[in-house]
């Protein structure tokens, strides 16, 4: 965990906020930065043991998503496109879990029990919680790319873009811009965790 938390510097947070695209009068600017300036600094050289830490965090996020959609389907009386989304996404998240468990083998951490508060009490709460969770997951994957070995990176990115599709899909259903930024802001583990906690997921 030390490796991952070394990422969490105030400077990195500022930079993460700074690179958000500013939409001013319809003109999009990537914060006035060049591409090379966008990336968070690498913490330590990629290694198998660092992969295990990072992929276990990814596994936790995927388990959280699957659990949210399962509970939402059971309790929130979803209908129409929202129900179609929840069913499809739950299936995908289960496949992501199986994929990560296969990569991690005996290093895969067991599933915790999640508490969603009242996030699954009705369809509108489910939608906004899902937006937060999928967006945070996309940012979390993007925040770790330089810290993964090349093999683990390729595996993680096959999942990350599907989570990005889920994020855009649920945002479309929820009447929010599906792709609000020209570049998805990379998040540290701590930043992603904070956003999820603020949505009431424990």
């Amino acid at each position: 965990m030390a490796a991952i938390h070394a990422f969490d510097e105030p400077e990195a947070t500022t930079r993460g906020e700074f690179v958000r695209v500013l939409a001013v009068g319809g003109v999009l600017v990537i914060g006035g930065l060049t591409l090379a300036e966008l990336a968070p600094r690498a913490l330590s050289a990629p290694s198998r043991s660092q992969d295990v830490q990072i992929l276990n965090f990814a596994l936790r996020l995927e388990r959280m998503q699957a659990a949210l959609y399962r509970r939402a389907i059971e309790r929130a009386r979803l209908k129409g496109e929202a129900l179609r989304f929840a069913r499809t996404a739950e299936g995908h998240e289960r496949e992501h879990i199986a994929y990560l468990e296969r990569i991690l083998g005996s290093s895969a951490r067991p599933s915790p029990r999640f508490s969603f508060g009242n996030a699954t009490s009705n369809a509108s709460r489910v939608l906004s919680t899902a937006v937060t969770l999928e967006d945070a997951s996309v940012g979390a994957y993007n925040g770790q790319v330089a810290n993964l070995t090349k093999g683990a990176l390729a595996d993680a990115m096959r999942i990350a873009s599907v989570d990005a599709r889920h994020a855009a899909w649920i945002r479309s259903i929820n009447g929010q811009p599906p792709a609000p930024d020209a570049i998805d802001t990379p998040l540290t583990e701590q930043q992603a965790t904070q956003r999820i906690a603020r949505a009431g997921i424990r």
Partner: protein, 231 residues
């Protein structure tokens, strides 16, 4: 290499709705053959991508080649959305999506050009063959472009050596995936068709782009409206 048609094996995966094939099939047979042959035999796109770059000190030649490859795809997308916006053919939420996505693709172009500096390849010429002038054709083509963009970036991420460029490319890659899902939603096809998105190699992507005939040697004027090459 003889100027025969390339194999389109695998096109089904990316061109689920047939937009790329439909666009290619609209071409008169002779020019289609001629173009595809030329493209496959080291034609326009390959030439653009393979052009030796005046290397920037900070980036490896491998990274420069990958960024230029991404730049060509972004030029293609930016030109497509910009032309569709100017055609005035789109209405409602499709017009709004076109405007927003077009602005983002133009931002990607300028970011990549800035990163590449003098090593950036020039913008090719495009002919979208009427697909920017009709809403259904626009949506089908946009779905194919965004799915392709997502797969093409994904195929290169593990090959990028500079960590900063890698992080930027990954974060653009997920925006392409968002666009794909958004346009799919508007087109009435499932936004996320599979649990794991596939990566595409450069060769496969080049072959798919070549098969559309959208990249041309010089501006052509066979559309219903005068072409505008302003992406």
């Amino acid at each position: 290499m003889t100027p025969s048609e390339p194999s389109l094996q695998g096109l089904d995966d990316i061109d689920r709705d047939g937009a790329i094939r439909e666009a290619a099939s609209r071409l008169p047979t002779t020019s289609r053959r001629g173009f595809l042959g030329a493209a496959v035999a080291g034609g326009v796109l390959a030439a653009v991508l393979a052009r030796p770059a005046g290397a920037r000190a900070a980036a490896s030649s491998g990274d420069i080649a990958i960024l230029n490859y991404a730049l060509v795809l972004e030029y293609l997308q930016a030109a497509f959305y910009t032309e569709a916006e100017q055609s005035g053919a789109l209405t409602g939420i499709a017009a709004e999506a076109d405007r927003v996505i077009g602005a983002v693709e133009r931002a990607h172009v300028s970011a990549l050009r800035k990163a590449l500096g003098s090593a950036a390849v020039k913008r090719p010429f495009f002919d979208f063959r009427g697909n920017t002038e009709q809403q259904d054709a626009f949506l089908r083509t946009a779905v194919a472009f965004e799915d392709l963009g997502t797969a093409a970036y994904k195929g290169q991420l593990a090959r990028i050596s500079d960590p900063a460029l890698l992080a930027a490319a990954a974060s653009i890659h997920t925006v392409e995936a968002r666009h794909a899902a958004w346009i799919r939603y508007l087109a009435g096809v499932t936004p996320a068709a599979e649990a794991l998105d596939p990566p595409f190699s450069m060769a496969r992507t080049q072959q798919l782009v070549a098969s559309t005939g959208f990249i041309v040697q010089r501006p052509r004027t066979n559309g219903r409206r005068p072409p505008r090459f302003t992406g």
